[in-house]
């Protein structure tokens, strides 16, 4: 109970202190996870839409894999990326292990199936509604894809959010491929793990509360954008 109370005090102190170390950790967390989510969307939106709209042999298997990979354990992704990026691995010459780039790669792999699988579902549902009209217009594949992704934008915003939530909260992958190097690859979750291992439970919980607060802020921002845009345009 004591540590719970002191954790909130610690979290409050961290938030108002603008401690440069703390801010650099938060900054790196955001940079890594936002970049990973951006890349995941870049791959996942068109991939999901493509699987939703095209028929090819093995499509059922592809959907099954996408849905399964939504639940990829971060440590497994971390381990695989680690093995690939290690000096002994196939991409070892790039020297990317224990860098933020490695963390971005791992989180991108983690988030892309989530974005792709959810996009597939959303685009498939919208296709049921739009399909005959778009085909009647003789719309080409690019127009079709762009129309569906544009018109699903509010649903897709929640997909981005789901991906971001997954990325910012995971520790397994960033810990393994980033190495939790102070000022270089230390993010909020790996800092929490470190403080826990030092027995500094209230500092760890304080960081955890800050992380929650951050997630809350991002969620609230998206929700506000969504509802105001939705109300104004009723396009959703």
């Amino acid at each position: 109970m004591d540590s719970f109370v002191s954790a909130f005090a610690e979290a409050g102190a961290l938030l108002v202190s603008f401690d440069p170390d703390f801010l650099s950790i938060v900054g790196l967390s955001l940079r890594v996870s936002l970049t990973a989510v951006a890349l995941a969307c870049l791959i996942g939106f068109p991939l999901g839409a493509l699987v939703a709209l095209t028929r090819f042999p093995g499509r059922g298997v592809a959907i099954l894999l996408l849905n399964t990979f939504m639940g990829l354990p971060p440590v497994v992704v971390g381990l695989i990326v680690f093995l690939v990026l290690s000096r002994a691995g196939p991409l070892g010459v790039l020297g990317l292990l224990f860098t933020p780039t490695a963390m971005i790669i791992a989180q991108t792999i983690l988030v892309t199936p989530i974005v792709a699988a959810l996009t597939r579902q959303i685009v498939a549902d919208l296709w049921v509604e739009y399909g005959e009209h778009l085909r009647s217009l003789d719309a080409g594949p690019v127009t079709t894809l762009a129309t569906l992704i544009t018109d699903a934008r509010y649903s897709l915003a929640t997909v981005v959010l789901a991906g971001f939530g997954r990325a910012i909260a995971e520790v397994g992958a960033v810990m393994i491929v980033g190495g939790n190097i102070d000022h270089v690859t230390r993010v909020m979750t790996s800092a929490i793990a470190l403080e826990t291992s030092k027995g500094n439970l209230s500092t760890a919980l304080g960081l955890g509360i800050v992380l929650l607060f951050l997630a809350l802020t991002v969620n609230a921002a998206v929700q506000i954008i969504n509802t105001s845009a939705g109300k104004r345009a009723a396009l959703a």
Binding site: G179, D182, T196
Partner: protein
Amino acid sequence: MVARLTRLFLAPAMLAALLAPSPALPADNDRTLLLGTTTSVDNSGLLGPLLGAFHDETGIEVRTVVRGTGAILQLGRSGDFDVVLVHHPEAEEAFVAGGDGTARHPVMTSRFLIVGPRDDPADVRSAADAADALGRIANGKFDFISRGDESGTNAAERGLWGRAGLSPWTDRTGWYRETGAGMGATLNMASVLSAYTFTESGSWTNFANRGELTILFEGGSHLANPYAIIPINPERHPHVAAQAAKSLVDWLTGPVGQSFIAAFRVDGTPPFAPVR
């Protein structure tokens, strides 16, 4: 429509470009050094000021990745570090003999400790030596938490069980538990369960969540915990920053590094002793 599509896909791309990290490690090999070391060293809080002083003096930035000794040596073998600082003499000698490291340079020692609940039901306090202390815990089947992660501390603990003629990890009655995690996680568990565990002074002095735990047995020849630094062999891994690694070895084993280690205190006690 193509324009819209481009815009749609370009937005995250531009964001990605904006946020993309600058290449961190490879370019300036001589100004940054990647050090693999163990939780015990890191948890003590020694590394921050020590490597900070080294940086001030040489301009070389040292980045540390923390794992158990076994994992660190494995990563060193694949060339993922420039230099390693670990504590498992036999494994270190094999590492150097196998050509993975250039040479083993002793840096400092810490002390292994047996910690447990204040009331000490196994009466470890009055044990004759470390092996006897472990034997008393095993006899009464009192809860004991082991790291079980092939770290240096874990290797030393197993060595002591061997001296006591015991191999409790084969015992299925449940008093001996392996966390498979770092020293911190193991100490946290021991604290919650008021169980015995095997740790060393570097981790222990800086561990905040002690609960009922206290030091019950220390000292004796078998509880010395020697640390050594080993540069990764540049003949096997040409990309390593061999020059910077040599600078770190010279500095740590030289007068400045050694006196820094000697002067380091946590709550008034020195967790490490220099080798000279």
